[in-house]
């Protein structure tokens, strides 16, 4: 069972203060999205081409001069939470997928509590698994029940197809931020996807979820490894050399990921300890909101 019975209450008790209530849209624009609203901003003199329905007839009656009301479009904040469902996410004493789904659900609940909405998108999942959207807090338990059924079984090819499909979704263009929860192993493919996301106005925030054994594997005797995604096998006949090589490559990969994120201004946080996942997420989000 991934979610504790009091998971929603625990999430709501966390200090999510950095999350805005409503995002500010462009002045004078209407939002067609559900939940959008208008708020008076200022008056200005009527210009040809202005919508006559915006004329302030009370000012016109007093001054006999046409003024139009400029209004700010209030648009409900929409954020995207992308969860990697590739088979590698099943690794760990506490599977990384469980931790990722708990983080995704916590983000969605926190956003819904402030009037925003979140869409949790499975990446690399079978077609039968649909994205889950949370707009009202009362639907949080249905969201959790749905996330309980998700499992990690996809391979790299399925992940790539899912990434492409996601970029084609309209909801990506409407989302202000995209949370990416993954282990980011195939960095090249992830880099292309993240750049494409940013070009569609969804600012990526990267949450790298790792297991302690994954970061520093114990290897005291020869072991035959099997790749969780490809099924490929390899015998580490020399444990010492294998550990050294692994540590070197893993550190290089982490460094490349950090460099990529800094270059593109993508916030990145590495989560290793399951018990610290939610506090780390809150700190991460508060830092992002303050910035």
């Amino acid at each position: 069972m991934r979610f504790a019975p009091d998971f929603v209450d625990r999430v709501l008790a966390l200090p999510w203060s950095a999350l805005p209530k409503r995002g500010a849209g462009a002045i004078g624009e209407r939002a067609g999205a559900k939940g959008a609203g208008l708020e008076f901003e200022e008056h200005r003199a009527y210009r040809p081409g202005d919508d006559p329905t915006r004329l302030d007839w009370q000012i016109y009656a007093r001054s006999r001069k046409p003024f139009v009301k400029l209004q700010r479009v209030l648009e409900a904040q929409r954020e995207l939470v992308v969860v990697d469902l590739s088979a590698s996410m099943a690794f760990g004493a506490e599977p990384k997928l469980d931790r990722a789904l708990r983080l995704a659900a916590a983000l969605a609940i926190a956003l819904a509590a402030r009037g925003a909405s979140a869409e949790i998108v499975p990446l690399g999942a079978p077609a039968s698994l649909a994205p889950e959207r949370l707009e009202r807090l009362v639907a949080a338990r249905e969201l959790i029940a749905a996330l309980e059924r998700w499992s990690a079984a996809g391979d790299e090819a399925a992940l790539e197809r899912a990434r492409l499909r996601l970029l084609e979704r309209r909801s990506v263009a409407r989302s202000s931020r995209a949370w990416i929860l993954s282990d980011f192993y195939a960095l090249g493919e992830w880099a292309q996807f993240l750049e494409a996301l940013r070009s569609r106005s969804a600012r990526p925030c990267l949450l790298r979820i790792l297991d302690a054994e994954e970061r520093s594997p114990t290897l005291a005797e020869p072991v035959e490894w099997i790749d969780a995604e490809t099924g490929e096998r390899w015998v580490a006949s020399d444990p010492a050399a294998a550990r050294a090589g692994y540590a070197e490559r893993f550190a290089a990969h982490a460094e490349r990921l950090r460099g990529f994120a800094e270059r593109h201004g993508f916030p990145l946080r590495e989560l290793v300890e399951p018990a610290q996942d939610l506090p780390e997420l809150v700190r991460f989000e508060r830092a992002r909101g303050a910035r």
Partner: protein, 500 residues
Amino acid sequence: MSLAQPSLLWLLLVLAPLAWWLATGAKPPLRRAPSLAFWPRELPATPTPRRRRLPFHAWLALLAAALAIAALSGPSLVRERPLPLRLWLDRSASMGARGSGGATRLDEARAQLARALADEPAETPCELWCWPLAERIESGDVAAILRALERLDASRFVGAEEGPTSSELGAGRLWWVGDREPEDLPPRAAFLAVGEPLRRNAGWVSASFTAPRELWLVVACTGTERVELELRNEPGARALETLALEPGARRALRLEVDPTWSSLRLVAANGADQLPLDDELNLALDARPLAAVSRDLPAALQRAFAADERLAFGGEQPPELLIDGAFLPRSDDPRCALRFGAGAGAAAVEDLRWEDLERDALWHRLAPAAWPLRGIVEGRAIARATPSARSAIALVGAELHCALDAVELAQSSAARAELPLLCALLVDELRSLLRDAQLDRARSAPLDLGETKASVRGVARAETREGRRALEQRPFGRWLALAAALAWLAACAARGHRAL
């Protein structure tokens, strides 16, 4: 701990090569990795080194196998518990006799039992039974038995001829405490003798009997000490005769009886103790020999009878019966009969005719075809089967002669060679028969044995202290089997965990 099938433990040796195989021959464990991207797969392929130590799940599997083998060998815990003890205490009248110290034999039995029970575990289940009424007095622990012993005194019952039944003796340990060891006591019983060993003597103090017209009396000293007897008349109590008998001696006495005497009394006069009667009395009131053999008999039969001098015991007195001939009846079967000549009891013999013999004797049992050459019908059986001693004697004689004839008819040199031995056997049979018949007659005499002394054998036997405790076994093989199953499950679980 004991094992029902310890040989199965040899199967443990199979585990050694199995452990070696697991340690050296198995493949490296398989583990899932989230990705092989970071592993240096370009490392030169080196041969997989064989493991030198067993993985944890292999240890568990070996433990399961060892436990299963141990369970198959049928182990059981052995616990000692005291065997139940049944005490038989002789409460017959003789146990009331006082020894030289003034204490009765029952007191001595109490003290001896207290000493013996002091070595017993307190929780030993005990039962106290008393003889000769075969009643259970108390059952419980050692302390309860000791308390019950204090309440007992000697009864006025004489000893019984029949011993306790096997159910009364119980199945556990058995102690018999008394002044005489029963003959049919099982070997597992321990006899605790009490009382001072008594002299073996004629076995009685006095005997009264109705005065016959003419008294013929035979007394025999079967004991180990000299006995002096007095024959007195009643009324008057005058000593008529005095007999002194050495051990093993036999004396015959003939006495003319005064018609005024109503009864006679034979008294052991050499200071017998005053024990009440609880033993057997052997007495014969007839001095005449029951049978004698005429010289007209066939030589083989004469030799056979002459081989036993006691056939004519009674000394100079004429026998009651005289066997003076043997006949072969007119029959295809080689049957025979004895003819009794006139003797001192000629009047009785005169009535014994061939027809009587034929009627009294069980002739059909005498056909040699029905029994082998040596298969002489046992004398005691004949005595029981025949209505009187007379016919029994006739029967045995007939058997003897018939057997001899059968030997002669057989014309077998081997059988002839065995003839002396055969004769000795026959004589022994006849002798025992005559003795039984004599005793039967003695028992039928109207004797008053109220003052007969007991003949007590004081046989001391060291009590055996062995076999006091029983071994109780509690098998626990099923628990080992359960542990083996759990260990196997744990091994499977550990192996599955490693595979992840």
